[in-house]
Symmetry: C2
Subunit: 245 residues, 2 copies
C-alpha cells in the first residue's frame, strides 16, 4: 500500500479546532478532497468500515488533516450530511413558510426532496443505518439534534397546516402521519439491499420518480377502491363535493 | 467475572451439526437457555456486540454449546428469528389462503401481526438493523431467503388479490404497494431510537394499537380530505356508491 502524501497544515502551531478554518484556498481544497473521498468510499457497495486513515489515504492527504478540518470522524460525517441534507431541510422549511393552496403539493414536494436526495447519494442511507441506527454513540445524538429534528421533527407542524387548510382530514394524527411520511420516504433506501432482492427493484431515476408519485397518492388517497371505503365516509358523502374546489 | 459453568454435551464424540439435536431433555433445555439468553442480551438498550462467549456466559453453559446447537452465531440468530417470525410468516400465508371478503381485513391483520411482534420483541428490529442492513455478510443473504422473501415477498400477490376482489383500486402497483406496506410496518421499529426523540413517542401496547389502526386507514383511505381529492376521482363519483356494500 502506498503511503499517503502529506500536506502541511495551514497553521501548524495552532490548536486544532473543528470547522472550516479561515485559511487559504489550499486548506479549502484539502477539506473538499476529504469530503469527496469520504463520499466515494461510502458510495461503494462493499464498504465495511471507513477508517480515518483510509479516508485520508483516498484523499491523498495526511490523516491529521481530518482532525484539523473536522475534529474527528463524527465531525466529518456531520460535514458530509450538512452539505447534502442542508438543501432538503431548507426545502421543508420553505414548505412551512409558504402559504401554498395547491392540493397535494406540500407532501409531494417534501417526499420528492427527500427521496431524490437519498437516491442520488446512496451513502446517506448507509451512513444512517451504520452510524445512527446500529450505533448508540454520540453521533446518534448529534444526528437527531442537527438533522432528524430539523427534518422529520417539523413534519407534524406541516401536517397540522395541511389539516387547517382542509387538504388533510380533521381526524388525521399529525405525529403518526409524520412517522408514516418518514417511513415511506426513508425505508425504501434504508432497506434497499433487501428490497432489491425481495421485490426485484432497482433505484433508478425512473423508479425513484414512480415511487414519489406512488407514495404521494397513497398518502393522500390511499390504496382502497372508492366503493369499498368505510361506511362512515360513504354515508356522509354530499351531493356537491367541490366545496373546496 | 465468574467463569461460566460448563454443561456436558449430549453426544461428545459426534460431529457438531447445526439444528435441534435429537438428544435428551437436557440438551433441549440448554438450547432453550441459549435462545433466552440471546433474546435478553439483545433486548438491552445498551447492547453493543453480543459475542458467542457473552451469550454462553449469560445462559451459564459452555460456549461450545452454541456451536453444537446452532453451528455459529448466524445459526443462533436464525433460530431466534425462526421462533419469533415463524407465526407472523404463517399469518401472511393464511391471509393468502383465505377467501376473506371483509374490507380492510387482510392489510389490517398483516400490519397487526408484524407490528405487534416487533413491539413485543424489540430485539428483532435491532437484529435486522445490525446484522442485515448494516452488515453485508452471509447473514443478510440468509435473512432475505428465509424471512424477507417469505414475508414481504408474498405481499405483492396479496395485494393483487385485493385488487382482483375490488378492495384495492385497479391502478395500484402491487410491488410499490408492498414496499409501502413494509415501510409503514417496519420503519417505526427500525428507527425507534430516533423516532422516540424526534416525535416523543413510546412504543407501548396502546401506541402500537393506535399505529396499526392509523397505518391501516392511511393505507386504504389516505390522509386527504375527501373534498380535496383529485378531480379525476371526484368527477367519476356515482350516485349510488354502495355497489359493493
Amino acid at each position: 500500500m502506498s503511503r499517503p502524501s502529506t500536506a502541511s497544515p495551514g497553521k501548524p502551531g495552532r490548536k486544532r479546532r473543528p470547522g472550516r478554518p479561515t485559511g487559504t484556498a489550499h486548506t479549502a481544497a484539502i477539506r473538499s478532497a476529504l469530503l469527496k473521498a469520504a463520499r466515494e468510499l461510502f458510495a461503494k457497495r462493499d464498504f465495511t468500515a471507513a477508517s480515518v486513515r483510509e479516508i485520508a489515504a483516498a484523499a491523498r492527504v495526511n490523516p491529521a488533516m481530518i482532525h484539523y478540518h473536522f475534529g474527528d470522524k463524527d465531525g466529518l460525517y456531520r460535514a458530509m450530511l450538512q452539505e447534502t441534507l442542508g438543501p432538503v431541510l431548507q426545502k421543508v422549511q420553505d414548505l412551512m413558510d409558504r402559504s401554498g393552496r395547491e392540493s397535494q403539493t406540500s407532501i409531494h414536494d417534501a417526499l420528492e426532496a427527500v427521496m431524490t436526495m437519498l437516491a442520488r447519494e446512496p451513502w446517506v442511507a448507509r451512513l444512517i443505518v451504520r452510524e445512527v441506527l446500529a450505533e448508540e454513540g454520540p453521533f446518534r445524538e448529534l444526528f437527531i439534534r442537527e438533522f432528524a429534528a430539523k427534518g422529520g421533527g417539523r413534519l407534524p407542524a406541516l401536517l397540522e397546516r395541511e389539516i387547517a387548510s382542509g387538504r388533510v382530514r380533521k381526524d388525521f394524527d399529525p405525529t403518526l402521519g409524520a412517522l408514516s411520511f418518514m417511513s415511506m420516504a426513508l425505508f425504501p433506501f434504508i432497506a434497499l439491499p433487501v428490497a432489491e432482492k425481495v421485490f426485484g427493484i432497482r433505484m433508478t431515476d425512473t423508479f425513484t420518480r414512480r415511487l414519489v408519485e406512488h407514495s404521494t397518492r397513497l398518502f393522500y388517497e390511499g390504496a382502497g377502491h372508492k366503493s369499498s371505503r368505510t361506511r362512515r365516509d360513504e354515508s356522509r358523502s354530499r351531493g356537491g363535493s367541490k366545496a373546496h374546489g
